[in-house]
């Protein structure tokens, strides 16, 4: 398959635009000096990904991504940023000085994964996308074949919920404890 063949396919144009958006915003996520900006770039990257999912006719996942991630998780992030009073202005040292080894590690991983993908799948095509997966199918599968993982995940969510509350709850300071003990006595 030549480049020309690839270009000739219209979906690939869409892919190219989305991929560029995702790549650039992902890069900004990890390079932005402003936490809020980084979070917003993540939103962009996720939105791009949702677009890709649509391209792959996975509508339900795409909308879940938008709703859960962009809607809930990112909001949570923004709360977190605000509560921890993370430095939001520019010119703040948000990165280590040791960028080179990190970049090397990332690059290595990229080489490894991309390389193995290339060797493994060569120019295999994604075709017969059809009309996309219906939400009904997903719902059935989720509650039939994947019901146990589903329950496990729900349990994980519950645990995370309790854990989050427990962790984030404000403990009494030692001074307060002393005061309490004193009042008991």
């Amino acid at each position: 398959m030549t480049v020309a063949d690839w270009i000739a396919e219209p979906t690939n144009w869409v892919y190219l635009v989305l991929a560029l958006v995702i790549a650039v915003s992902a890069l900004r996520v990890v390079t932005s000096t402003n936490v809020v900006h980084a979070a917003l770039f993540l939103v962009l990257a996720l939105a791009g990904t949702a677009g890709l999912f649509l391209l792959l006719s996975a509508e339900f996942v795409a909308w879940v991504l938008v709703l859960v991630y962009i809607g809930a998780v990112i909001v949570l992030f923004l709360f977190g940023i605000m509560i921890t009073r993370a430095p939001t202005g520019p010119n703040v040292e948000v990165d280590h000085q040791r960028r080179a080894p990190a970049a090397m590690a990332a690059f290595l991983i990229f080489i490894v994964t991309a390389g193995s993908a290339l060797t493994a799948f060569g120019d295999k095509q994604i075709s017969n996308l059809g009309r996309g997966t219906s939400t009904e199918v997903i719902g059935e599968q989720l509650l039939q074949r994947f019901v146990i993982p589903f329950e496990v995940v729900s349990f994980v969510l519950l645990a995370a919920l309790i854990g989050g509350i427990t962790l984030a709850r404000k403990d009494a300071t030692p001074a307060e404890e002393m005061a309490r003990e004193g009042s008991d006595a």
Binding site: I22, V29, V30, V94, A105, K170
Partner: protein, 101 residues
Amino acid sequence: MLLNQFLILGALLFSLGIYGLLVRRNAVMVLLSIELMLNAVNVNLVAFEAFLQNANVGGQIFAIFVITVAAAEVGVGLAIILMIFRNRTSANIDELDLMKW
């Protein structure tokens, strides 16, 4: 569409996530990078699902699971960051070296 174009995009996202994970000082930003990596996984899952045309749509369902677990992870992670911040008035991860000898 080539399968590989999605896989390589996933690899790129994952590598950028790793870069961010390794290089960020702020814990919140580290979490953001992790989200990026999880997202890369989702891309792969969905792409493979599309490629294999499996009847039981396992790839999409696992993408949903990943999203769910990611949400849980963010919840707990932020809670931990919050607590650390309370105790040390900083969310900088490189100041956390309690695991040292």
